[in-house]
Symmetry: C2
Subunit: 330 residues, 2 copies
């Protein structure tokens, strides 16, 4: 059933029905009621494709994020997609995942949607390099970074107060009396990594302690495990280890468990993110909670605003404060 058929059935023109369905003004109450009744009765819905064609607008939002290969990698990260997908859906936009690969960059695949077919983009996570972000900018569509930012270019983004939180975490390790405090980070071009290093460095400098930073090629559970050996941990070790995310911290703790080394006294550990698993390690992990749901919500709402008010070209950097969660690894 289409507009024309319905129109013939109830003897009201297609344009009028269209007006009712689009909440346009200037319809008599009588006809409006008549139309609404018929729509209800016939379970009538407008054709999605025809509508998009004539309105020349896209209802697709591309969600660009790094393609993770192992299940382990997938599972140990926040699922911020839940929050913003819901909001976008409520506003009649569909989320389409677009993969970014470390080696071949952003890949639109053989999908029937080209960059031009999107209303806008959300670029998720810290691991998308500046070069790729700028390439998205070239599409000329609204986009926003989530959990990422750029230093040299003004860009719409939503981040947390990385440096402050990492400063606080490091202070916890310092106040506990550790003299050797190591910060384990990931690739040095990631925005969050840089910010968190700043926080760590500030705290260490204030305490006049020697900084020790280890860069891992990736920030997943398995690399966290590796740092255990890298740092030569044994029963005698006295050390504070601050990981750039929970996934690595959990890997480290698990490796300690497997080696019967106790965490929380001579060896302190802090993570970052407060993923759900963080409270379930033995012992539970001290970390910084990122309000990822709020951040995702903010990002999607801001993107929707950018799409509907394309003349408004100011860039906004939103900082959503996280908070320190003290558990038992410190």
């Amino acid at each position: 059933m289409n507009l024309k058929e319905l129109s013939e059935k109830i003897e009201v023109s297609a344009s009028t029905i269209s007006r009712v369905l689009n909440d346009k003004p200037g319809i008599s109450e009588a006809t409006r009621a008549k139309v609404l009744e018929a729509i209800e009765k016939e379970h009538f819905t407008l054709n999605f494709a025809a509508r998009n064609l004539v309105k020349a607008e896209s209802r697709f939002i591309g969600i660009i994020s790094r393609k993770r290969t192992s299940v382990e990698d997938v599972i140990f990260f926040h699922h911020s997609i839940n929050q913003f997908q819901e909001i976008l859906l409520q506003n009649n936009y569909f989320c389409v995942p677009i993969a970014y690969y470390d080696d071949k960059g952003i890949d639109f695949g053989n999908a029937p949607l080209s960059p031009n077919d999107y209303a806008g983009f959300i670029i998720r996570g810290q691991s998308i390099p500046q070069k790729e972000i700028l390439s998205v900018k070239k599409f000329g569509k609204p986009f926003i970074l989530l959990e990422n930012s750029l230093y040299e270019t003004k860009v719409n983004c939503v981040v947390c107060n990385d440096a402050e939180l990492e400063y606080e975490l490091t202070k916890i390790l310092i106040n506990k009396g550790h003299k050797r405090i190591v910060h384990v980070t990931g690739p040095d071009y990631w925005y969050n990594n840089k910010e968190r290093i700043k926080g760590y460095s500030n705290a260490m400098n204030e305490a006049a302690l020697e900084k020790e930073i280890i860069c891992m090629e990736d920030t997943v559970l398995s690399t966290g495990r590796k740092t255990f050996e890298l740092l030569n941990i044994d029963e005698e070790t006295n050390i504070g280890v601050s990981f750039v995310n929970d996934a690595m911290a959990i890997g480290f703790i698990k490796e300690a468990n497997d080696n019967n080394i106790k965490i929380g006294e001579n060896i302190s550990v802090v993570g970052f993110d407060d993923i759900p698993w963080a409270s379930l390690t033995t012992p539970p992990l001290t970390t910084a909670r990122i309000e990822i749901d709020d951040m995702g919500k903010l990002a999607s709402m801001r993107l929707l605003d950018m799409i509907s008010n394309s003349n408004n070209t100011k860039t906004v950097k939103s900082i959503v404060d996280g908070k320190i969660i003290i558990r038992n690894t410190t």
Copy 2:
């Protein structure tokens, strides 16, 4: 740029360009080359909406799954969506999440897509009741159940060998010498729960042991925790507990950890699913691995087949065998 504009630019009719883009036969090599070159040069892509309109086909697959409210609930389940979303995307179909709520049923919300706008549906997980599944059937579109099935109606579905696996798990507890072996399950109308109870019952009957089944209102981490108190566990307890999923088993183990009760000797625990976290508990969890990726892949491929060959109306129940993973809680 649209077909007509490109057509004028390279002096080849729009229909010919359309033919080239749709891999239709009967084009001279010369014009084909000319067209392909122009497409490449101009970064030309077909308009998605216009294409769907004229072909009168939908590129949307509805993914119906239970709406979970807490982050905890979200995280402790398999992410089978990853696997099938990728396959569907490769075939130019888009996944649109559709929420099912325990109280108000399947909710299409105010989305611009009505049931008719979908090419088909994947119904995920065991917690969607038969009534809702049958209501989807009424849409007259192809659909397939993932990790669920129906007893009274033939239905396309992909499940694992629930009963066999639970039988094996129970045998492990029996062989370990436990005399009291409790099975903790969820709502009794869930297909998987019923199947797993069958497996448990078979093993218990064979061993002439008394069955003890506890039904919880939901099968999440927190309800798993609750069973610890429910079963009056202390240092003296000798018991085997078989949980209907890992989430609950992990909750139980965590509660045991918190109470300094050791798991793996007098108290044995088995889960079901082998979610990533199962290997990371203290001690690591013995469970049955479900090959959820294979299952998701199978479901999506079968659905695509049903969509393209709508005349083929036979129903297929695919059983993907899982396997027992023995770790340290038994």
